[in-house]
């Protein structure tokens, strides 16, 4: 059976996007440990990240995650290239704000800013903790890698605090449009269901963006 690229590519972007949405919930839940008082936060956060690193199931999920990010980006790029070709000349005047949201018109640009964020985020944490690049990561009293300290030190640099917080704005915009669109792309068309979906997307995007956006400040003022 011949696949239709118009549907296939978008389905891939949607499916990987939804998986990443799920991941963000888990990620934010874990990060809430950082909101606890210093002593408790350090112990639990480090214990949790050790558990993550040593769990074989998480290893599989981690590879699925890397793959999802890459596939999401590559397919979004393919989609964008075809879309540009489909509209080679743009209008002299175009009031897109009258018929659609800014985010929906600029998902590529917003996505690019998130990609840059992810690269820097991975360099800050993943590269140091998992790949052992850069300055050595210490161990805490319980003998776990002191991931909390890495976070604590990073978020005592106001520039990183601002960077991590501000970049949650494009993330929120991306999720708000992306979540509901992904469901529609995958064929969810129930009339009232779509209204509920729109509300869920808004709440989801707001909680994720606000949650991740506040944590750096909380750590900064500890």
């Amino acid at each position: 059976m011949k696949v239709n690229t118009l549907f296939f590519r978008k389905s891939i972007v949607a499916a990987t996007g939804l998986f990443l949405c799920l991941f963000l919930i888990v990620h934010l839940s874990a990060n809430c440990l950082l909101l606890l008082p210093e002593q408790a936060a350090r112990g639990m956060y480090n214990a949790y990240s050790t558990w993550l690193r040593e769990n074989p199931l998480i290893k599989v999920v981690a590879y699925a995650l890397y793959l999802s990010i890459i596939v999401h980006v590559v397919y979004a790029l393919l989609v964008t290239i075809r879309n540009r070709k489909a509209k080679p000349v743009s209008y002299a005047v175009n009031h897109t704000e009258a018929n659609s949201s800014w985010a929906s018109q600029n998902m590529g640009l917003i996505g690019l800013s998130i990609l840059i964020f992810i690269v820097i985020h991975l360099a800050n944490f993943w590269a140091r903790i998992k790949l052992g690049l850069g300055a050595d990561v210490g161990v805490d009293a319980a003998g776990n890698k002191d991931v909390y300290e890495v976070t604590y030190a990073l978020f005592h640099n106001i520039y990183f605090v601002l960077f991590y917080s501000l970049l949650m704005i494009p993330l929120g915009l991306h999720l708000h449009h992306g979540l509901k669109s992904a469901f529609k792309t995958l064929g969810f068309y129930h009339k009232r269901g779509l209204e509920v979906l729109a509300r869920i997307s808004l709440i989801y995007a707001a909680v994720i963006a606000a949650g991740f956006g506040i944590i750096p400040f909380v750590v900064y003022f500890k």
Partner: protein, 247 residues
């Protein structure tokens, strides 16, 4: 009333077009937008200049021939109407009104404001019909159709094929048009026997014509004169998936 029209002029498909400005007076608020263009063309004839080419037929929002991009919106500043249903009272005295043809790779410009929308016809040819010869219209109650289904099919069938969805879409996606045609037939019993093949053939043609992907900006349903809901695209996606698996 007096306005300045800034209109895209292009002699032939391959020519390099450009905007040209025209001051037009003696317009009234009751004139339709097309009448204002007629009025301008009459002046151009008197001055011995080439008239502006634009399309229309019914001038009552039925045929879908008249679409142009007016001041940054498909069919002008109001949602869900055609260009022929737009009136000069929607503009102010002294306004500059920018008029452009639909922009899409799949809709090449023929001349000035006229584009070639035969890509739509080729999508229709792939299956937006019932292939069995049915003779004259059968007795209306011979096939029973529930009201909810009849309404959904009717809503989708309202598409007049004007191309505003493609024109306003940043990706020039023809998803709304194609979805309307598919859902119209596939939700009715008469369309069921060929349902899967219809979806596959029509969407394949949509792909071949060089339309873009749908990214659900929602612009199409706002500009669609028939108010076709974007939920139709999600429904087409579901039908496409099903046809791909079962067809």
């Amino acid at each position: 009333m007096k306005v300045t029209f800034k209109i895209w002029r292009q002699d032939k498909p391959q020519a390099k077009g450009a905007f040209k400005e025209y001051q037009v007076d003696e317009l009234t608020e009751d004139m339709s937008f097309l009448e204002a263009l007629d009025h301008l063309n009459e002046r151009l004839v008197l001055r011995g200049e080439k008239v502006i080419a634009y399309e229309y037929d019914c001038r009552e929002g039925i045929c879908g021939q008249c679409g142009v991009f007016i001041n940054g919106r498909a069919h002008g500043p109001h949602p869900n109407i055609t260009t022929c249903q737009l009136h000069m009272r929607s503009f102010k005295d002294g306004d500059t009104i920018v008029v452009e043809p639909w922009r899409a790779n799949a809709f090449p410009i023929v001349k000035d404001l006229i584009v070639d929308r035969s890509a739509f016809d080729r999508i229709i040819e792939q299956g937006a019909y019932i292939s069995a010869k049915t003779g004259t219209a059968p007795e209306a109650n011979a096939i029973l159709i529930g009201k909810a289904i009849a309404d959904r099919a009717m809503d989708a069938a309202a598409c007049i094929g004007c191309g505003a969805c493609v024109a306003t879409c940043k990706n020039s996606s023809a998803a709304l048009f194609t979805a309307a045609k598919i859902n119209h037939l596939n939700s009715l019993p008469q369309g069921k026997p060929e349902a899967h093949q219809r979806v596959l053939d029509m969407t394949a043609q949509m792909e071949r014509e060089g339309f873009g992907h749908c990214s659900f900006t929602g612009a199409c349903e706002v500009e669609c004169p028939a108010g076709i809901s974007i939920a139709n695209i999600a429904e087409m996606n579901a039908r496409q998936g099903k046809a791909q698996l079962l067809g």
